[in-house]
């Protein structure tokens, strides 16, 4: 499968967005790690912005940036959301309430706890009635989401938005599933090259137990510590304007191999 990346959004620690983060990944600007800044999407009405959970803020921020970068209309794009942990803060608060005597679960918390909450809020915010799916594949959530989004773009013959995000759990679940930082990435994948295309990517998938492509030392803890940040070698290659083949591990002893050529 050959695809084109037409737009990128990114939010991570010391990486506020793709526009300012790309030169940092490319090594042209010094990386200064700092807590991830979550900025509510301008797509949402002010009242909705205040109610948003952090996962929704993160997903909408990177999705909005990617779509704007690609010059697409968000409502026209089918979307694939992928996350290992979903909304751990909301899930933990429900688990704590279920330990209490009253067990009074908040209705809003309950509907925000579903894995597809960012996908639902995205479609509401963008008024998109296109298909949207929500995937989980543990540490392999980015690669599984990328393969699904690529398959969807090729099957439908039109651009697709991929949003991959993860954030740390509160203490109890953090102890059994450490995710070390907040990171999200949005990619607009297109089956056709356009003047907007940033990179061509040839996707292959199959058995392979080779190593994953690492990041330079400054970024490797981020890549290894957040499933969505497995995208960083891909993003860095595009930021550098280079060409490289990147391997990302998938379940079942498989590798997703992305042969990237920046355009």
């Amino acid at each position: 499968m050959k695809l084109y990346i037409d737009g990128i959004g990114m939010t991570g620690p010391g990486l506020n967005d793709w526009a300012t983060g790309a030169p940092i990944l490319a090594g042209r600007t010094t990386y200064e790690p700092a807590p991830t800044q979550l900025v509510p999407s301008p797509l949402l009405a002010p009242a909705e912005r205040r109610r948003m959970t952090d996962t929704v803020k993160l997903g909408l921020a990177v999705g909005s940036e990617a779509v704007a970068h690609a010059g697409c209309r968000a409502e026209d794009l089918p979307s694939v959301f992928t996350s290992s942990g979903g909304d751990g803060v909301t899930i933990t608060s429900i688990l704590e309430i279920l330990v209490s005597d009253q067990r009074e679960v908040s209705p809003t918390r309950f509907h925000n706890s579903v894995h597809n909450a960012p996908s639902g809020y995205w479609s509401i915010a963008t008024r998109s009635r296109e298909s949207s799916t929500s995937i989980c594949a543990y540490d392999f959530s980015f690669s599984a989401g990328f393969l699904e989004a690529a398959s969807l773009a090729v099957s439908e013959g039109r651009p697709v938005l991929l949003v991959s995000y993860d954030m740390p759990y509160p203490a109890v679940l953090d102890a059994v599933r450490p995710i070390t930082s907040i990171f999200g990435v949005g990619l607009v994948l297109s089956p056709e090259r356009s003047p907007r295309s940033l990179a061509a990517v040839t996707v292959s998938f199959g058995p392979g137990d080779g190593p994953e492509t690492p990041m330079p030392a400054a970024f490797e803890p981020l890549r290894a510590g957040n499933p969505a940040a497995r995208s960083l070698p891909l993003l860095t290659t595009i930021a550098e304007g280079g060409a490289r083949t990147v391997a990302i591990r998938m379940m079942g002893g498989n590798l997703l191999t992305l042969a990237i050529e920046a355009l």
Partner: protein, 394 residues
């Protein structure tokens, strides 16, 4: 889309384990709903609970032991499904068979119990296995290991449309040659999160749920596991069941309430018809989402009316199985397949008085009918919609 063969399928729900028990209960209209006596839940509602999930998973996959994976395993063990997958594995190779599973809450019951048994420092019990039980991915991970498969694997977690949408993933990846066959399905099991969550939304009926009834008050939560082995249709026997179309859409309206005019639901049905190359009148029966909430049934009725008028018979089997949430898509796809195979429309016995405001041709009584094509609807929180069309090969 190119039709795909459901070469083997099975399930376990409140109606029983395996195809024979399920088909018998469907024909007889025997509801599996009973008063809620589950774990420590005190919720005035009925539930569709699966019997015989007491035995832990042991051996190499013992870390995966949780109610959700026990339910998945119980389904896998019915009707010779594991042997059918083993045969497919010999024909295609383990890495050429994908696993596309769905769930909404995975093994969260383990985490609910773990939170009650934290130590003085607040840590979960030492036997807690996040990846194998709590992780939303755990059901695909477990199924892939239990079946000895090594192809692409993922979980779709799009609330109550999850296991219907998983058929779309399988169809796309098979069409692109990323795998030659797929195990599609999943499991969603009872837990306190959904029992108290839906109760807080005032969406649970105290009695058995009554789809399309004038007095409907909400859902009855159920649990189920179900799986289909999906292969290319050129292997289809004359009486084989095929997946003809998948249609997915989003409501873009509200997180927990459907579009009032059923716009997203209608789009999903239209897309499924377009994918199958069929017109509305080609459908013989529609197994509705029909959860028995006030607004959900009204929205779906509007969408059915707009597309099919009163020409196509439809009903919901949720009064029999309960609403199995993330498993509803696979359960009702298999009910559609059984209806096609055996030539019957199941009844809707918990529905007593049809809501006069609803206009589609809702069938309270079941009937023998030589069905050729059946549509199955699954809609969920987040406005996630999916319609499937299944048909007989001949």
């Amino acid at each position: 889309m190119t039709p795909l063969l459901l070469s083997h399928f099975t399930l376990a729900s409140a109606l029983g384990a395996g195809r024979a028990q399920t088909a018998a209960a469907l024909r007889a209209g025997r509801s599996g709903l009973r008063p809620c006596e589950f774990e420590t839940a005190v919720v005035p509602t009925r539930i569709g609970m699966v019997e015989g999930l007491e035995a832990p998973i042991t051996g190499a996959l013992a870390n995966y032991d949780c109610r959700n994976n026990r339910l998945a395993l119980k389904a896998l063990e019915q009707d010779g499904f594991m042997a059918a997958v083993a045969d497919a594995r010999r024909r295609y190779g383990a890495h050429r068979i994908g696993v596309f599973a769905g769930t909404s809450t995975a093994g969260i019951l383990e985490t609910e119990q773990g939170f009650r048994h934290r130590d003085a420092g607040g840590a979960l019990p030492p036997g807690f296995h996040y990846r194998e039980t709590h992780s939303t991915y755990s059901v695909a991970d477990f199924v892939q290991h239990a079946l000895g498969l090594a192809g692409p694997a993922l979980v779709v977690s799009a609330a109550c449309a999850s296991t219907a949408k998983a058929f779309g993933n399988a169809a796309r990846m098979m069409a692109l040659g990323l795998c030659d066959a797929a195990v599609v399905g999943g499991a969603d099991s009872l837990c306190l999160t959904t029992l108290y969550g839906f109760h807080s939304l005032q969406l649970t009926d105290e009695g058995p749920c009554r789809p399309f009834d004038a007095a409907r008050r909400g859902i009855s939560i159920g649990e189920a596991g179900g799986f289909a082995l999906v292969e290319r249709a050129d292997r289809a026997p004359a009486d084989g069941i095929q997946l003809l179309g998948v249609g997915e859409s989003s409501d873009a309206h509200h997180m927990s309430s459907p579009h009032p005019e059923g716009l997203g639901a209608r789009m999903a049905m239209e897309k499924a018809l377009a994918a199958a190359g069929l017109a509305p009148d080609d459908i013989d029966y529609i197994n509705l989402h029909g959860t028995a909430t006030q607004v959900g049934d009204a929205a779906e009725d509007q969408a059915i009316w707009d597309l099919f008028g009163d020409r196509v018979g439809c009903n919901s089997t949720k009064g029999l199985t309960g609403h199995t949430l993330g498993a509803a898509g696979i359960v009702e796809a298999i009910i559609a397949a059984l209806s096609l195979q055996h030539g019957f429309i199941p009844p809707s016995p918990t529905t007593e008085t049809l809501d006069p405001a609803l206009r589609s041709r809702y069938l309270i009584q079941g009937e023998a009918w030589p069905l050729r094509r059946v549509m199955s609807n699954s809609f969920g929180f987040g406005g996630s919609n999916c319609s499937l069309i299944l048909g007989r090969a001949s």
